[in-house]
Amino acid sequence: MIAITINGKQQEVAADPDMPLLWVIRDLLGLTGTKFGCGVAQCGACTVHLNGEAVRSCVTKVSRAAGQRVTTIEGLSKLNDHPLQIAWAEFDVPQCGYCQSGQLMSAAVLLRENPNPTDQDIDDAMSGNICRCGTYPRIRSAIHKAAELQREGAKS
């Protein structure tokens, strides 16, 4: 058994240590917000936080997460009210929506590390996440907006 804390909850899973975290999260724990897109760390749809860092769960062995903290899109906020989630809805970012969990999880790390990202910072942080619907311009606008919301939140 491998013990992992997922979204603040301690879980024990019976999994081969080599099994990718993605499939443990989806198929063993039933959390389907984290998506399978490529299986080779090329598209970012499977991005989750491992001890707060963005990782591609499709190539992260579950053994690496043993005893660690994992956050998935379901745990990004309690009420779908992370500044990014609010901004995403305000700018109508999602189209098909399949990549957006990964986009949000990558953006969340960017925003935590860099509360005032430039366009270049966004390019650098977000270019590992593919969106086939081409929502990039709206993702960019929404990250800027979320940064603003986060700063306002910090002030109040």
């Binding site: 990014l84 995403w88 970012v93 929506g97 086939r132």
Partner: protein
């Protein structure tokens, strides 16, 4: 074609008002769908109002990113006079009631949802509103003329009823043959728009896609496909695969060998451990190099007549100048973000399917045929689609059929999942095409002779299962050259088609013929303008003198996109205009080419689409089509060596990423023209606008796609 809809109403099983429509069968597509007698899987309605005051709208089309989850309910909300946010929205499932009003079968495609449903969905709302008003009038003893609706209530004299209170009695009234539609001045949503109704569930992981279907006892299957199209399993050894923990079963199915396991990872490990000997068949002879040579030879001769005017052969000697051009377009994979998948559960005499599909009725029929069921024994559930772009509208029903075969052979409920590699290598591609064009111009630089031949596979031939045998001229190959406004103005022209056959299965790809025809036409017009020393906007204006919608889009983008602006050093611009799916899109692309690397910095876009029902939704689709087109133009290519696709995944089949995405400005022509589409319309003109900008930057014309295969240096 008879397009009248017959409106019906009835009482919901649970009480309340149900509005449904039936459509007389329109063509042979519907006749085929007719093998499905009326579906038993209620509700087969567009709208129902519960006695609990709940309002549900059922979508005839599917949401795959294009935004109809919002637009169709908007149409009903405006006629029913309710707050859009109070409506529960659901996919309708497979049902003849939801057949496309033009195409006759249930299909989401051709950028047609909003314009084709504009009347039907408004009528659904208006019918309900009329019945509710009548009910309130009777109940209150007030004249119906003095009753009115107000945001979910009927006001009848001093009485105020919720729609739910009236629903049961309203359901018992006869439906009027014709109901009044509200004036456009009463519209709250149409033309003004609304935020997406599916945005929130797509930000917290709760939106369910086909891939996310789970229930107790459900197993996961992956399939080893033949590495060459048309190949068959000769023999296989599943011994090692069965030793992988979690693998339950290994089965041969018509399309390969399926490994069924407790979860995806075990199934994938099992597939890797399979030892299969394939009989490759004739497909091994396919090599992209040889195919290119063969198609070039073919396109150099005149093909089957598509369109002609005057005497093109006699006109060439009169030309002051001629140009010849040959274009090569590769096979393309749609690569939607959600890999193809399908969940199938078969019980004694029924089957339930969960899959993201643009063709629910076709999938239902295909599944029934495999199982020896009637279509009504097959229930199709449609979660959100993680992108479609045409790949989820496969008339051959390939991935659903494959999943049904697995579940049938296994006897257990199975979710079949394709990997990204399966998606790249297992077919249904935008076809490979070659164009050969010769143009003669007069001394003013205008074309007087245009000879144009296209060689490529027929998409409709691979769609024959649904649409019947293809015609000799498959319009999906030639649309955009055929019917070109430029050719209208050219006194002597000939367009010919060579239809080829290959083992490779082909399919419509977002914007279909426009993916290649627009590139050819718009880069050639750019070349003609350049040779004539005329500004490309002015040159097009001359040729569009009888095409007011083209002119409107061109003029708007030239004005708002400031065509004559001064660019930063190293930046160059190009433009293109194309009509597709009833709308005209004009694009200005601004690029730089640095050390051979092209970057698109800015794209300005104008669309003439008639009434834009949801303007921000139209803008989103322009952005989406532009970036999709940049991926296609810059990187998109599948190649074959001895019948095997050489590309694997996003590392060798590249998609535009954040750092490559341009700034995009979209302008919508204020128009009273007939409503057109949006979803696909920006794809055709963007790629040639980029190529024309590359010419401005480097002096090089792009004849071979993708652009990365061309050596480009900066202008000296």
């Amino acid at each position: 074609m008879n397009r009248r809809n017959f409106i019906q109403s009835g009482v919901l099983l649970s009480g309340g008002l149900l509005i449904s429509f039936t459509i007389p069968k329109a063509n042979k597509l519907a006749a085929l769908a007719d093998t499905a007698d009326l579906n038993v899987f209620a509700p087969n309605a567009f709208l129902n109002i519960g006695t609990d005051n709940s309002i549900s709208v059922y979508l005839s089309h599917v949401e795959m990113g294009q935004g109809i989850w919002t637009t169709l309910p908007m149409l009903i909300a405006d006629e029913l006079d309710v707050d859009l946010k109070k409506i529960n929205i659901k996919h309708g499932g497979a049902d003849k009631t939801f057949n496309h009003v033009i195409y006759g079968a249930q299909i989401t495609g051709g950028s047609s949802t909003t314009w084709s449903e504009f009347d039907r969905y408004r009528n659904a709302g208006a019918t309900a509103r009329t019945l509710l008003l009548q009910t309130a009038a009777t109940r209150s003893g007030t004249a119906v003329e003095s009753c009115k609706t107000e945001d979910g209530f009927v006001i009848a004299g001093s009485k105020r009823y919720t729609y739910g209170e009236l629903a049961n009695d309203a359901a018992k009234l006869p439906v009027p043959a014709k109901v009044p539609l509200r004036s456009s001045t009463d519209w709250r949503y149409i033309g003004k728009g609304s935020k997406r109704m599916d945005a929130r569930v797509k930000t917290d992981g709760s939106a369910k896609f086909g891939m996310d279907i789970q229930f107790p006892g459900l197993l996961t299957a992956v399939v080893a496909h033949a590495p060459v199209f048309g190949g068959k399993v000769k023999s296989f050894d599943a011994g090692k695969a069965k030793t992988i923990p979690g693998v339950r079963e290994v089965l041969q199915i018509p399309t390969g060998v399926a490994v069924i396991a407790d979860h995806f990872w075990a199934a994938q490990q099992g597939r890797k451990a399979l030892q299969i000997t394939w009989d490759h068949g004739a497909g091994v002879q396919l090599n992209t190099g040889a195919q290119t040579a063969a198609y070039r030879k073919l396109a150099a001769s005149d093909g089957l007549l598509v369109q002609e005017k005057g005497d093109v052969k006699a006109a060439f000697p009169k030309a002051v100048n001629t140009i010849s051009a040959e274009y090569v377009f590769p096979y393309l994979a749609h690569a939607p973000m959600e890999p193809l998948n399908c969940t199938v559960k078969i019980e004694n005499d029924s089957c339930e399917i969960w899959t993201g599909t643009q063709l629910p009725g076709g999938e239902q029929t295909a599944a029934a045929k495999i199982l020896g069921f009637k279509p009504e024994q097959v229930k199709v559930n449609i979660p959100f689609l993680g992108g479609g772009f045409g790949r989820r509208a496969t008339p051959a029903c390939d991935f659903v059929s494959e999943a049904v075969h697995i579940a049938k052979a296994s006897g257990r409920p199975v979710k079949m999942v394709w990997t990204r590699e399966d998606d790249m290598k297992s077919g249904f591609y935008r076809p490979f095409y070659v164009h050969n064009v010769k143009i003669g111009v007069d001394k003013g630089g205008l074309p007087i002779a245009w000879n144009h031949n296209i060689a490529g596979q027929s998409i409709m031939a691979d769609a024959a299962v649904l649409f019947g045998p293809p015609p000799a001229i498959d319009d999906t190959t030639v649309e955009g050259v055929k019917g070109s406004p430029y050719l209208d103005e050219i006194p002597n022209h000939f367009v010919g088609l060579h239809t080829t056959k290959e083992v490779v299965p082909v399919l419509w790809y977002r914007s279909v013929g426009g993916t290649h025809t627009a590139f050819v036409m718009e880069t050639l017009i750019d070349q003609l303008a350049h040779n004539a020393g005329i500004d490309p906007v002015e040159y097009r204006r001359g040729l569009f003198k009888n095409h007011s919608r083209h002119l409107a889009a061109l003029n708007l983008v030239a004005e708002k996109g400031n065509w004559n602006r001064t660019l930063l050093p190293g930046r160059f611009k190009g433009m293109a205009v194309h009509e597709a799916f009833g709308s005209v899109v004009a694009i200005i692309a601004e690029v730089s080419v640095d050390k051979g690397v092209t970057k698109v910095h800015q794209v300005d876009c104008a669309i003439e689409c008639g009434l834009a029902v949801n303007p921000d939704g139209v803008k989103a689709q322009m952005e989406s089509g532009i970036i999709f087109s940049i991926s296609m133009a810059m990187y998109g290519e599948l190649t074959f060596v001895n019948g095997e696709v050489q590309q694997n995944n996003f590392y060798d089949y590249r998609i535009t990423r954040m750092y490559e995405a341009p700034r995009i400005n979209v302008y919508i022509v204020d128009s009273k023209e007939k409503m057109g589409g949006a979803g696909e319309c920006a794809v055709p003109p963007t790629a040639p606008a980029v190529a024309n900008a590359i010419f401005a930057a480097t002096g090089k014309r792009i004849y071979n796609l993708p652009i990365v295969n061309n050596r480009l240096e900066k202008q000296a």
